[in-house]
Structure formats: structure tokens, C-alpha cells
């Protein structure tokens, strides 16, 4: 008898808390879902930018390597050495690992190497013309 009346009052007294709790949980779940969506978008775009940069350097390196590899003069050999170093740094990069702790440091090393190679080849480093963001432009033939 006493048990039943407690339940009855509980319903009313705890209603506030109960709704509060339910609302919180619903909001939390919704937030988590939305956060995942936003996070994925952000990660994808950031990853794409980084990849674009690294791949550019790689393609650049391979192209110049092909152009210079048949030259035997001292200057070309020095340039090839620097190019090999650039390609090596990129190949060592763990492409699949977003949590790689030295990501920033290694990217800086790659960028610095790229600038040095450009200086040796006498090529300007500004490649913003080639990198078009958001998928607009792209390559035209």
C-alpha cells in the first residue's frame, strides 16, 4: 500500500528530472551524429588538401628525375641527389595514418626540401596556379 503511493508521487515529482534526462540523451545522440558528419567532412577536406600537396611534390619530383636522369654533368648529379632525397621523404610518409605524430614535422621537412630543389633547378615555388581547390578547374588538355 505504502509502496504504491510512493510510486504515484514519484511520477509527478521526478517528471522534471526524467524529461531533463531524456532530452539530454536525445540531444547528446543527435549531437554525436552531427559531429561525426561534420568531422568526416572536415577530415576529408583536410586530407585532400594535404594529399594534393604531397602528390604535387611527388609528381614534380618524378618528372624532373626523368628529365635529368640521363645527364652526367656534376650539376645534374647534385640536382638528382636532391630530387631523390625529396622522393625518399615522400615515400617514407605513412599515407594511411592520420594519427601519425610526426605529421606536421615531416610535412615541414618535405616542404623545405621542395623549396631547396626548386632553388637548385631555378624553378619558382609558387604552384598555387596548379592547385585549384573545390574541384573547380582541374586539368585541361
Amino acid at each position: 500500500m505504502a509502496h504504491k503511493s510512493e510510486d504515484l508521487f514519484d511520477c509527478i515529482l521526478m517528471a522534471d528530472d526524467r524529461f531533463h534526462g531524456e532530452g539530454y540523451r536525445e540531444g547528446f545522440d543527435e549531437g554525436t551524429r552531427q559531429g561525426m558528419i561534420d568531422g568526416r567532412k572536415h577530415g576529408a577536406s583536410h586530407g585532400a588538401k594535404l594529399s594534393m600537396e604531397v602528390s604535387f611534390y611527388y609528381g614534380f619530383g618524378i618528372t624532373w628525375k626523368c628529365l635529368l636522369q640521363n645527364n652526367t654533368d656534376v650539376k645534374s648529379r647534385k640536382r638528382l641527389k636532391a630530387l631523390e632525397s625529396l622522393l625518399g621523404l615522400i615515400q617514407k610518409f605513412p599515407h594511411e595514418e592520420p594519427h601519425y605524430e610526426n605529421l606536421q614535422e615531416d610535412m615541414e621537412k618535405v616542404r623545405a626540401k621542395f623549396r631547396q630543389v626548386c632553388s637548385l633547378l631555378n624553378v619558382p615555388t609558387d604552384f598555387s596556379d596548379y592547385v585549384k581547390t573545390g574541384g573547380s578547374g582541374g586539368i585541361s588538355f
Binding site: K78, K81, S85, K109, A112, K113, Q116, S119, T125
Partner: protein
């Protein structure tokens, strides 16, 4: 005892450098010019003006160890190499690559290497070959902010740089590439200048935090890199930012250029423990100039001779006599 003259009219004089023989003085400034001064009797006369080398302020000049070349670092993002031909200089080549203002240039004692640093946070090391061709050997991005100064070790192939990020970095060559081997933390504001002691065992740095720190290389444990420890801090002597510092190669005295318009000379206490050096203020000229003193340099041959330059465009030559 001193002599003062106006070097860069209506603009700042940023830097002064003695040539290795001590017969010429090179100065550079906000008027985009480099001036070469020679002693005529008791005064200094301007022998040459290099006006068209740069499009913006020339921040620093450096003589090659042989004295035949002059390098100039400019806010126009280039470094110019000048070759001395009798009394004139001709521009040999222009080193490009930095993204923005080049803050400093320095020749290695061997004469084969050159270092430059910039607001783009990087330090570049260049190699010169017998045909006077300059090639970039390394680009190092160890600082997180504007790099203010680079200086070479007097005897080893070691480079040090300092920055707006409050740190000093020390670089060594490893496998044809230059890497940062040590980061010296301790200053609480921009580090503006660096100088090695005559033996190269210690490095002095000066900063926006109004102190001077002396660093010593500690013997490394097996397998680890050498570490540099701060063995002395000179604080309470400077009223404002210390912009430049120079260690006399002949006497071991330490001179500083300060934003409070003063020039100071510190002497080391001979009796102190070498691992805990003690420096005391030996001379102080409170109003050496009417504005910030940007640079201070000891004469390479004549002990006690000092030159300083200031934001007011003046160069002053000083004679320091220490009471023994």
C-alpha cells in the same frame, strides 16, 4: 673617446661590419644603400655607395673571411653577393628563394658556406664553389616564427639561429643535409642577436626580455646529441630590448647594443667556475646614440675598438679601455 658620423642620412643605420683586416667598415640601412667607409687620418670617409642592389631596406651585411666579398641581406627577400674590385664592388649574383624579408646573412669561417634567415621562418644554407656559383644545400624550418639572426661557430661547421619564437636553434650537417640538433629555450621574448665566444665553447644571446644569456655545450652522453645549457643570465642591466651582442675575439669582453640608446661592455670574472661564469658591467655609455642602438661590433685586430650604429642613421666608433 669616440667619433661619430652620420652614415645613412634620414634613415636608420641597421648594421655595421668590419672587414676581416679591419681596414674598412660596411654599413647598411633603411635607405636601401650599403656604404663602405675607410679611415682617412682621424676620420672615416665614405669610399663607395652601393645604391641599386636592393629594392628595400638592407638589414645586414657580412664580409667573407677572405675579405673579397660582401653579402647583403634585404627586406626585398633577396641576398646580394658583391665582389670587391679595387675600390669598387660589383654585384656578382642575387640569391633568391626566401618568401619574404631576409633578416640576416653570415659566412662560415671556411668561406665555402653562407647562411641566410628570414621572416618566412626558414634558415637556408648555401654552398659556394670555385666558380663563384652559389647553390642551396639545405632549407631548415626549425623555428615557428621570424628568424632574426644567424651566426657560425668560429672553428666548427656549426650554425646557430635565433627567432621571434624566443628560441635559439643549433644546426649541424648530417648526410649532406643540415638539421636542427638542439633548441635552446629560456628567453621569454624574441631573441635578437647571437655571438660565439672566441673559443666557440659558449654562445651568448640577447633578447627582447632585456637579458643576455650565456649558453655552454654540455658533454653528451653516449649516443645522444650535445645539449646546450644556460650557464649565466645577465639581467637588470638593460633598460630595454637588447638588439645586438658581440664577443670580442681578442679580449673576451662582451658588448651589447640596447633599445635604451646605450652601449655596454661586460667583463668576465677570471676567478669564477668555468661552468658558472660571472660577468660584470665594465663600461656603460647611457646615451651612446639619440635612438635605439641596432648593432655593435668589435674591431678584428685592434683590441678595445668598437663600432655601433643607430636608428638615427649614425655610426659611432668607441675606444674601450678596461682597467685591469
Amino acid at each position: 673617446m669616440w667619433l661619430k658620423f652620420n652614415a645613412h642620412p634620414d634613415s636608420r643605420c641597421w648594421y655595421v661590419a668590419w672587414n676581416p683586416k679591419g681596414t674598412l667598415l660596411a654599413s647598411c640601412g633603411g635607405d636601401r644603400a650599403i656604404r663602405i667607409w675607410g679611415k682617412e687620418g682621424d676620420s672615416w670617409e665614405c669610399k663607395t655607395v652601393l645604391q641599386d642592389g636592393h629594392q628595400r631596406t638592407v638589414r645586414k651585411v657580412a664580409w667573407s673571411p677572405c675579405g673579397n666579398y660582401l653579402a647583403s641581406a634585404s627586406f626585398d627577400a633577396t641576398t646580394c653577393i658583391w665582389k670587391k674590385k679595387n675600390d669598387d664592388f660589383e654585384c656578382l649574383t642575387v640569391l633568391e628563394g626566401h618568401e619574404n624579408e631576409v633578416k640576416c646573412v653570415a659566412w662560415a669561417p671556411s668561406g665555402n658556406l653562407l647562411a641566410t634567415c628570414s621572416r618566412d621562418k626558414s634558415v637556408w644554407i648555401w654552398e659556394v664553389d670555385e666558380e663563384d656559383e652559389y647553390e642551396c644545400v639545405s632549407v631548415v624550418n626549425s623555428h615557428t616564427q621570424d628568424v632574426k639572426h644567424v651566426v657560425w661557430h668560429p672553428t666548427q661547421e656549426l650554425l646557430a639561429s635565433c627567432s621571434y619564437d624566443n628560441n635559439v636553434c643549433v644546426y649541424k650537417e648530417e648526410d649532406d643535409d643540415w638539421e636542427c640538433r638542439a633548441t635552446l629555450e629560456g628567453h621569454t621574448a624574441t631573441v635578437w642577436g647571437l655571438t660565439f665566444d672566441p673559443s666557440g665553447q659558449r654562445l651568448a644571446s640577447c633578447s627582447d626580455d632585456r637579458t643576455v644569456k650565456i649558453w655552454k655545450e654540455c658533454q653528451p652522453e653516449e649516443g645522444t646529441d650535445a645539449a646546450w645549457k644556460c650557464v649565466c643570465t645577465l639581467s637588470g642591466f638593460h633598460g630595454r630590448t637588447v638588439y645586438d651582442i658581440a664577443w670580442c675575439p681578442l679580449t673576451g669582453a662582451l658588448a651589447t647594443a640596447c633599445g635604451d640608446d646605450g652601449v655596454r661592455v661586460f667583463k668576465e670574472d677570471e676567478t669564477a667556475d668555468p661552468d658558472q661564469p660571472v660577468f660584470s658591467l665594465s663600461a656603460h655609455v647611457p646615451k651612446a646614440h639619440t635612438q635605439d642602438v641596432n648593432c655593435i661590433a668589435w674591431h678584428p685586430k685592434e683590441a678595445g675598438l668598437l663600432v655601433s650604429c643607430s636608428d638615427n642613421g649614425e655610426i659611432a666608433v668607441w675606444n674601450y679601455q678596461s682597467e685591469v
